[in-house]
């Protein structure tokens, strides 16, 4: 494989404390050297130079929460199409949730996903189920799933209602070095709900999902993690109190990490408008006060990662009555521009952004990457923070189009994504990769 040298980038790698002009020399799919300033003379003249012109050069982004729908719902997304969408969003790795059909609750399904992931545009890290069939009744075979390639367990999409099962999952996951990811939802409170509970839901005549449905479960799972002494990761945090609970658990020294999604720091329940099913997700969009708390949590370190909860659905599931519409939105291709908006607004620094999108996701899942390491696979993302574009249905790479951001004018995006030294994506109109 040929070598390349990316020069004149703004090199941002928070784990190495880098934020300044520099570049990376790639060879044989690996990082040969990372350098500050101009390219060292030691790099042979024959290595093609790619001048990034000040664009950001960062470790390949990692999304620890996506739904790839394969096996079972390939009309919505496949591992291959989801990975292409991920690459188009600047990601070089994603962790896919187990709520496929069948559920990824055994080694055979995990192995099938790993096999289909061969040659995909990103690394794929399967998340296995906590319970068989994600039915919340009995433990799935963690060890076998780990052997098949799983890096974490979760019943994402469905809460683990039984507290004893959650406790046992936390304990047993330790035997297999698996992270437990909590989908925090007390379903007796959220059952049949379609959007955030409050005046807007009342006006629309939609059953509400109260914030306490999330907060009670966040509290329970933090308590169980502390009691068992096991780490826990809280998925898709959406409320102020949930952020506060996590902040307090961390202050006590708890081994807790947490993520939120771009829609929770960008939109409020108002986006539901007049029954727009593209704004229906679980947990639901909340209020301006929650949005402010989520942003604060991202800034002060309470929230560790931004994950998209990329949830593709076809028109079949979305062009229906709001009550009946499926939960979730696609997010891989809008995560970077929506996060860059936080940088422009001064909520987070560029380095913090890369922590949230690369360094911490790798650390949380215990996988490689998230930093630029000599001899490690050359997974890199080039971001142009200025490039403006309109997010349009025709240009969406994912198989599905269920995004509330369609038609938005966005600023900044990944323009070049490199996986193991090969370009997996270059934005339309860009000619960096030669």
């Amino acid at each position: 494989m040929e070598a390349r040298c990316l020069i004149n980038g703004r090199l941002i790698d928070p784990r190495r404390g880098l934020d300044g002009l520099g570049g990376v020399w790639l060879e044989e799919g690996r990082i040969k050297a990372v350098f500050a300033g101009p390219a060292p003379a030691a790099i042979p003249a024959g290595v093609p130079r790619i001048d990034l012109g000040g664009r950001w050069l960062v470790p390949g982004l990692i999304d620890i929460h996506v739904h790839l729908r394969e096996p079972g719902d390939e009309h919505k997304e496949t591992i291959a199409s989801g990975a292409l969408a991920a690459a188009a969003g600047g990601f070089t790795a994603v962790a896919c949730m187990p709520n496929t059909r069948p559920v990824n609750d055994c080694e055979a399904v995990t192995a099938l996903i790993m096999a289909r992931a061969q040659g995909a545009a990103t690394r794929i890290y399967p998340v296995g189920a906590i319970s068989r069939g994600s039915d919340g009744e009995s433990l799935a075979p963690f060890g076998e799933m780990r052997r098949g390639g799983a890096v974490a367990v979760s019943d994402d999409g469905r809460p683990v209602g039984n507290s004893q099962l959650m406790r046992r999952a936390l304990e047993y996951a330790g035997n297999h070095d698996l992270l437990v990811i909590s989908h925090p939802e007390e379903s007796s409170l959220s059952h049949h709900g379609a959007m955030n509970e409050g005046a807007l839901a009342t006006r629309l005549g939609l059953r509400g999902i109260p914030r306490v449905a999330e907060e009670i479960m966040v509290y329970r799972d933090l308590a169980l993690a502390e009691y068992t002494g096991r780490p826990i990761h809280i998925a898709h945090v959406s409320t102020r109190e949930a952020v506060d609970l996590i902040r307090r658990a961390k202050a006590r020294g708890g081994r807790v990490t947490a993520e939120t999604a771009p829609h929770y720091f960008t939109l409020t329940e108002e986006a539901v408008g007049d029954y727009d099913t593209r704004a229906k997700m679980n947990p639901p969009l909340r209020t301006a006060d929650d949005l402010a708390a989520i942003r604060q949590g991202l800034a002060d370190g309470t929230l560790d990662a931004i994950a998209t909860d990329h949830a593709p659905h076809s028109a079949l599931e979305k062009e229906v009555e709001f009550d009946l519409a499926a939960n979730g939105i696609i997010g891989l291709e809008t995560s970077v521009p929506l996060t860059l908006a936080l940088v422009r607004e001064g909520v987070i620094s560029p380095a913090r952004m890369i922590e949230l999108l690369a360094a911490n996701p790798a650390r949380i899942l215990g996988v490689s990457g998230g930093t630029l390491q000599e001899e490690a696979p050359a997974d890199l993302t080039v971001i142009d923070p200025e490039l403006s574009f309109t997010y349009q249905a025709e240009t969406v790479v994912s198989k599905s189009r269920n995004s509330p951001f369609l038609g938005w004018d966005l600023q900044g995006r990944a323009v070049l994504t490199i996986l193991a030294g090969r370009a997996t994506f270059e934005a339309p109109g860009q000619t960096l990769w030669r």
């Binding site: 839901a201 006006r203 629309l204 509400g208 029954y275 079949l316 229906v320 709001f322 009550d323």
Partner: protein, 310 residues
């Protein structure tokens, strides 16, 4: 009324979409149509050649018949589609149903459906006018308008009145339309009922929540009881209908706190002895049958205003 006023709505999806001027204009129009129903020959040619489809996904006697009577008195051709035997039972989606109906070129579709927002979804996928005859727990605008007409007739005005709405506010599209309509027209709306059946943020629709029925009814000009549904006991939202009747039912003792000339309303059908004492339902203060009569007039007005233009 402003001389420049024009009624410009294609659909009637909820009172939230209508201005006070729109509502006043609809009520005036309805009032002028009442006389048609008093004639020997109860029919005018106004909507001859127009096609009206009653698309009722939920059972309904009163509302569907009222719309049908209204359309026939205006000489429109009416067709009824009920739930059983309809294509939705065979798995057709709402949007496909809409597209198929659109292909038959109706002028107006009147829809009742169990899901909130379904009338709007239909309106977004069909060129015809849509009238919402009740969508889930969202709105029931023609009921709200007929209630406004009934109060205006009985009280001579709406502005400045005190209106008490008692019962299951959470699940009542009638309550939602009435809260919006009465508050838009300048009445003071108070609601009360079991706290489990008072939805969060109802104040933002224009209602004041009272902890007890007596407080809500105090000095009221209008007292409206809502139908309580038996299944609310299972949710669990209510311990028993007996307990509901005892603490939230409208009785002569409760009415003693209202104004001496207060009227009693109910959108029907009534659970006699649960939300409303039978003696009150049939008594001199009850305007419940006026509501039914006015329902026809209001629906004639709505059909005329959205279809009779050219």
């Amino acid at each position: 009324m402003n001389a420049d006023y024009r009624f410009s709505h294609k659909h009637i999806l909820g009172l939230a979409d209508l201005s006070a001027a729109d509502i006043a204009f609809i009520l005036r129009t309805a009032d002028s149509f009442k006389e048609i129903s008093q004639r020997n020959i109860k029919k005018v040619p106004t909507l001859r050649g127009r096609t009206v489809i009653n698309l009722f996904f939920e059972p309904s006697t009163r509302t569907r018949l009222s719309f049908e009577v209204a359309a026939k008195r205006m000489s429109a051709d009416t067709f009824n589609i009920g739930n059983s035997g309809s294509s939705t039972v065979k798995g057709e989606t709402m949007v496909d149903t809409a597209r198929n109906l659109a292909a038959m070129n109706p002028d107006c579709i009147i829809i009742r459906h169990a899901r909130s927002g379904s009338a709007r979804l239909l309106a977004e996928h069909i060129p015809a006018s849509v009238i919402n005859a009740g969508d889930g727990t969202h709105e029931h605008p023609s009921q709200g308008l007929l209630d406004l007409l009934t109060v205006q007739e009985n009280k001579g005005r709406i502005e400045g009145l005190r209106v008490a709405i008692i019962g299951d506010i959470s699940h009542s599209r009638v309550a939602h339309s009435n809260i919006i309509g009465f508050s838009k027209m300048g009445a003071e709306v108070r609601v009360s009922g079991p706290a489990t059946l008072i939805p969060p943020g109802i104040e933002q629709l224009g209602a004041t929540v009272c902890p007890t029925v007596r407080e809500a009814v105090a000095d009221a000009d209008v007292v409206m009881a809502l139908r309580i549904q038996h299944e609310r006991q299972q949710d669990p939202l209510l311990p028993s209908l007996r307990e509901y009747a005892t603490f939230f039912g409208i009785t002569p003792a409760v009415m003693a706190g209202a104004k001496a000339d207060a009227i009693i309303m109910h959108p029907g059908p009534i659970n006699r002895g649960v939300e409303l004492d039978p003696a009150l339902a049939d008594g001199p203060r009850s305007v419940i049958l006026d509501q039914v009569t006015n329902g026809v007039a209001v629906r004639m007005a709505l059909l005329y205003l959205i279809m009779g233009g050219e």
